[in-house]
């Protein structure tokens, strides 16, 4: 394995008295695609939110692309430039058009000229298959379209790593596929490192290099997807899979 792009070493985190992350160790290789699953409250979202410091870990080390996450604001901003994030509830900016949402980061953070940022934005809107929505406001789009805009917004920053925090769980069922299709395409056509918290097992089988199962703040099991789904080793993994796969 080459030098990991993300490395978690003995990461611990508490919410008050509640121990959410317990001694997490994880190495992610560049271009690796990881799906993280587990019951709700297992700490999977918290873990990926620690990677771009939306949450603070209290013990251990998180190193992203050679930079360790500390309280240093400059380092946090540097890491966030390289790490894109897609949220469950999209978190688009409702007062801006789709185009403005997409160009905000490139113009203000990467200091790109406006014309260049817009050209990039159009390219990615094309890629997520909604080029015609550029001048609309997020509120005028369907959930699936909004999530695709959110994916394009992250891509516009040209990140090395993409984090997906349950990207399809707030969507109406008929819109899940359009978002997953975009994500599959992204995984297959770019060499981007992806960490995805999701319960979409079809997606996991199709694109993941590794599936990680978490429970009670610990990584219980990790394996290649086929192995993971067909021969789960841990009892808790078996129980979880039996519950979501019916």
């Amino acid at each position: 394995m080459s030098e990991p792009i993300i490395r978690l070493k003995n990461v611990n985190k508490w919410y008050g008295q509640f121990h959410v992350l317990r001694d997490l160790n994880l190495d992610v290789a560049p271009s690796e695609r990881i799906v993280i699953c587990g019951p709700s409250g297992s700490g999977k979202s918290t873990m990926i939110r620690c990677i771009n410091r939306l949450e603070e870990h209290q013990e251990g080390q998180i190193i992203v692309d050679g930079v360790e996450l500390t309280n240093d604001l400059k380092q946090i901003e540097a890491i966030r430039r390289d790490v894109g994030m897609v949220f469950q509830h999209f978190n688009l900016f409702p007062h801006m058009t789709v185009m403005e949402n997409l160009t905000l980061g490139p113009i203000w953070v990467l200091k790109r000229p406006k014309a260049e940022a817009e050209a990039t934005a159009r390219k990615y809107l094309e890629r997520v298959r909604i080029p015609e929505q550029a001048d609309k406001y997020p509120g005028q789009l369907s959930g699936g379209q909004q999530q695709r805009v959110a994916i394009a917004r992250s891509l516009c920053m040209n990140p090395k790593i993409m984090l997906f925090d349950e990207p399809t769980s707030a969507l109406d069922p008929e819109m899940v596929k359009e978002v997953l299709d975009v994500m599959v395409e992204l995984a297959e056509e770019t060499g981007m490192t992806m960490l995805c918290v999701t319960h979409e097992m079809g997606f996991a089988r199709k694109v993941a290099d590794r599936v990680i199962f978490m429970d009670h703040g610990e990584i219980i099991e990790e394996n290649a997807p086929d192995e993971f789904f067909d021969n789960p080793r841990n009892e808790r993994t078996k129980l979880f899979l039996s519950q979501i796969l019916h």
Binding site: N52, R53, L54, E77, A78, R80, R81, V83, G84, M85, F87, H89, F90, N91, L92, F93, P94, H95, T97, L104, G105, W108, V109, K136, Y137, G139, Q140, R153, S154, M157
Partner: protein
């Protein structure tokens, strides 16, 4: 998308549309509403004819003296003819009163310009600088062949406009910073802001004005004085800023956490987040209460009366105290009420239109 197909469907029943339908549904939809409608009609019937009679029918428009006015009764227009310049410009030298008039017009024009979207460009700042310089020169004089008028002689409408314009212009950004400070994660900044806001909000404006005019000079070293008008202006700014801060804080709290996270995940710095993401949304939410603060600030400038500054209200009072025209306080106060109303109503209408403009396209 156009989902309605023309030519299909029945017309709604007659009673539901047209003027009759409107009257039924809006005025007499229930017994209580019918009573309220009739009550409102009765009030209008009582008030409007009486007002017209008082203002337009009864008075003798040709009257020129107080005696003539008293004879006919009704609104004494002669009083306004006689005193309007005192009320509008206070004790500013009579022959120079074109200067405050022009200054007021300039102020109103730049304020109106600032309200129009087309002007929201960098040169608006230059326009303001130019306008304020012009207002300063006109009011003080002393150069360009204008005689010098010290600001203790300023008064009336221009003074009210100056106090409220500067009041809003400084209280708003100051209040914004206070609101951000109060939500800051730095305990020191937060404590200072909380103490400031709570202290100021716990004190009436009148006492702040008193403090600024009576107590402040006691603390200043001998021979060092800040102009009385400036002190009043500062008191107004400090006062309004605390209210602006609390209102804006309300707006900030209404912004979902996801907006901060979305902005964070793009790597935007704190100030970029505030400027581009959080404040535009928060301020839009608080336009109505914010405008309420500005309107009350405009009216509260009349409290400077108590420290002897000659604003519009004080001028109206002075006009009544003339022995020859004694007893026409209704005329005087009605006159300034109309002036206050015109300004406040304009502000309020503008805020409505601004809300509507900002709302466009953002909702389905």
């Amino acid at each position: 998308m156009d989902s309605a197909i023309p030519g299909t469907g029945r017309q709604p029943p007659r009673t539901e549309t047209g003027p009759l339908g409107w009257i039924r549904s809006r005025l007499f939809s229930s017994p209580l509403n019918a009573i309220l409608t009739i009550l409102a009609l009765w009030l209008l019937l009582m008030a409007i004819p009486a007002l017209i009679d008082y203002l337009l029918v009864k008075p003798d428009f040709a009257a020129t003296t107080a005696a003539q006015c008293r004879e006919t009764g009704g609104y004494c227009w002669a009083f306004i003819r006689e005193k309007h310049r005192l009320i509008l410009f206070g004790i500013y030298p009579y022959d120079e009163q074109w200067r405050p008039l022009l200054a007021s017009v300039i102020l109103v024009v730049v304020i109106v310009c600032s309200c129009i979207r087309w002007f929201w460009k960098p040169f608006l700042g230059l326009l303001w600088v130019a306008a304020l310089v012009a207002v300063g020169i006109l009011m003080w004089g002393g150069i360009l062949g204008l005689s010098y008028v010290e600001n203790s002689r300023w008064g009336g409408l221009p003074l009210t406009l100056i106090l409220s314009t500067f009041g809003i212009a400084f209280a708003f950004p100051f209040g914004l910073l206070l609101a951000l400070g109060r939500r800051s994660h730095m305990p020191g900044v937060k404590a200072v802001c909380v103490v400031y806001i709570e202290l100021i909000r716990g004190v009436p404006l009148v006492s702040l004005l008193f403090m600024s005019s009576v107590m402040l000079p006691l603390f200043l070293p001998e021979g060092f004085s800040i102009d009385k008008l400036l002190r009043a202006q500062i008191a107004i700014i400090l006062f309004a800023a605390a209210y602006v801060a609390e209102t804006v804080r309300g707006g900030l709290q209404a912004i979902p956490k996801g907006q901060y996270e979305g902005a964070d995940s793009l790597g935007l710095s704190y100030w970029q987040q505030m400027r581009k993401i959080i404040l535009p949304q928060a301020l839009k939410i608080v336009i109505p209460p914010l405008v309420g603060i500005f309107i009350s600030l405009f009216k509260d400038t009349s409290l400077v009366v108590i420290i002897g500054i000659f604003d519009l209200t004080q001028a109206a009072k002075a006009a009544v105290s003339d022995a020859v025209w004694r007893g026409f306080s209704t005329e005087s106060y009605l006159f300034i009420s109309v002036i206050y109303f015109i300004f406040c109503f304009s502000i309020s209408r503008y805020s409505l239109s601004l809300e509507r403009q900002l709302d466009q396209g953002q909702h389905r």
